[in-house]
């Protein structure tokens, strides 16, 4: 390519209007982009609002079985929550509870009843007696519903749906006992066995849900052609496991200039003073230091 003439180039640059137009164009693009994001956000939020309003009345049949939901209810539930963030899901649970319903969308039973109407409740758990918000205690009609509900929650995307790339996200799985009744293509999870959970705390529920999710991720890894057990291409553990909190041993000090007076600067190699040079210097100084301390002690009071 022949070298471009400087004159010609500067002539273009001096031609202000097209350049300004280009800048304006970029600004316009940015503005349009922001407007689109805002528009998208409004649409998604309205969508979620409508979904919460619909799902707070679920299931459609008053005699539905939370462990064996009807295929249409399960399908609608899974579809609707894909756009949810975990906080939206919490909001759905809250709305169901306000309406006196069990927090799990596919359960028709009323929410739990705490022993008393006090705001804080004492609860017997495996870790001894704990104080729990009444609200939390009354969220579910049973531990089983808590487990099934949390299984859905851990699959939700933390990122707002209007910022997600492409589709809203992946399919949401449910824990059901009647997988055979649901359409074959639906990735519904058949619960292996009903584990007796006499005194489940919420943490244990969450742990169970996480474990279930890990299984699901393993399936996903195989589907992606990754070897089970190996590190996944999208493995979060790679980072989270290795985080170590930095512990401060002493209060932070502002950086100070290397002491010019020490007379070591001529020994420094790119700011570093070799050990041998340092030792020699310290031996020389030690007498002076003793003197200083003595002088200090001599002060009255």
């Amino acid at each position: 390519m022949p070298p471009k003439s400087i004159l010609k180039k500067s002539a273009v640059a001096a031609n202000a209007p097209p350049a300004a137009r280009a800048v304006n164009g970029r600004h316009l693009e940015t503005a349009v982009h922001h407007a689109n994001v805002l528009e998208q956000r409004k649409r998604v939020e309205l969508d979620i609002l409508r979904s919460v309003m619909e799902l707070m009345d679920f299931p459609s049949q008053a005699d539905a079985d939370s462990t064996r939901p009807s295929p249409s209810d399960a399908q609608r539930f899974r579809q609707a929550v894909v756009a949810f963030q975990p906080s939206d899901y919490d909001a759905l649970i809250e709305e169901r509870n306000i309406a006196d319903k069990c927090g799990y969308t596919l359960c028709p039973r009323p929410k739990g009843k705490a022993p008393s109407t006090a705001r804080k409740q004492f609860v017997e758990t495996s870790k001894g007696v704990q104080i729990v918000d009444r609200k939390k205690l009354e969220m579910w009609c049973s531990d089983d519903c808590a487990r099934r509900a949390l299984f859905v929650k851990v699959q939700l995307n933390e990122e707002p749906a209007w910022l997600r790339q492409g589709d809203y996200g992946t399919d949401i799985e449910l824990m059901v006992e009647n997988a055979e009744e649901h359409h074959k293509t639906l990735p519904l999870r058949l619960k292996k066995e009903v584990t007796p959970a006499p005194q489940d705390t919420e943490e244990e529920d969450a742990a169970a849900a996480w474990a279930a999710r890990d299984d699901a991720l393993a399936d996903l890894a195989i589907e992606r052609g990754e070897k089970p057990g190996r590190l996944s291409k999208a493995n979060k553990d790679l980072i989270t496991d290795k985080i170590k909190e930095r512990v401060t041993k002493f209060p932070p000090m502002p950086p100070s200039l290397p002491q010019q007076s020490s007379g070591q600067s001529h020994m420094a190699i790119e700011g570093h003073v070799p050990k041998s040079a340092r030792d020699a210097e310290q031996a020389k100084d030690s007498d002076d230091e003793d003197d200083e301390q003595d002088w200090d002690k001599a002060l009255p009071g």
Partner: protein, 236 residues
């Protein structure tokens, strides 16, 4: 009435104040409210709205209010060639007091259903605790959801109505201009509405008067030097 427990009595007292402020608010907006409703004595109030045991019965306090002729005039858009007889954008108001510990979408939906089936133009709900997050979102997005009464739904916290903020000496008189008065004002001063100073519809005084976006209020201040002077604000 026997000696009731202090807590119930305090609640009854609070609700008496809240009731009076609510009635005053309706009066100040231009609804027909009788003076004795705003000035109801505590004894009369507790007889009317208290239970045998001295507890408040909020359900009894609900009421409706009809706009005065002057209010209807203010809320009627100017006649044009296309609509020679425009309809007033105001109508019967329904005011409800809800004592539930949590107010969610279910309550909001029930309230809206009540308003639409009762053909109310607008509704005011007075609640104990702030709405749930979703109910708040639903309230804000009510227009997009496409249901509910024409005049919308407003929600107040009991706490905010214990005293009437407009009775405070530092709060000047706010007067709503009719659409016609607004046009005259802009014409006289050769202004566009966007050039007026603004008042947010979420401002407590704006909320008290139920200002809607686009309306203009005349604010009359007392001044030691100038006597009285008026300014205008555009609600956004």
């Amino acid at each position: 009435m026997a000696e009731s427990d202090p807590k119930a009595r305090q609640e009854l007292l609070d609700m008496w104040r809240i009731y009076r402020t609510t009635k005053e608010m309706c009066r100040d907006r231009g609804y027909n409210v009788l003076p004795e409703e705003c000035d109801i004595k505590f004894d009369d109030f507790s007889r009317k709205f208290g239970t045998e045991s001295g507890m408040i019965n909020r359900g009894q306090m609900n009421f409706s209010a009809i706009p005065s002729e002057d209010m209807v005039r203010k809320y009627t858009p100017p006649a044009t060639a296309k609509t020679p007889a425009p309809e007033a954008q105001i109508g019967t108001l329904w005011v409800e007091f809800n004592g539930d510990e949590a107010f969610g979408m279910k309550h909001l939906r029930d309230f809206i259903t009540h308003l639409t089936t009762g053909s109310y133009y607008s509704g005011i709900m007075i609640v104990v605790k702030p709405l749930s997050g979703m109910a708040m979102r639903a309230l804000r997005g009510a227009a997009q959801l496409g249901n509910g009464p024409n005049g919308g739904v407003e929600v107040f916290l009991e706490q905010d109505l214990k005293i009437n903020i407009t009775k405070h000496e530092l709060v000047p008189t706010h007067l709503l201009l009719s659409a016609e008065e607004k046009q005259q004002l802009l014409k006289r001063y050769r202004l566009k509405e966007t050039q007026l100073p603004r008042i947010q519809v979420t401002d407590p005084v704006a909320k008290y008067y139920g200002l809607r976006r686009g309306q203009v209020v005349k604010i009359i201040r007392k001044s030691e030097t100038a006597g009285r002077y008026a300014s205008y604000r555009w609600a956004i």
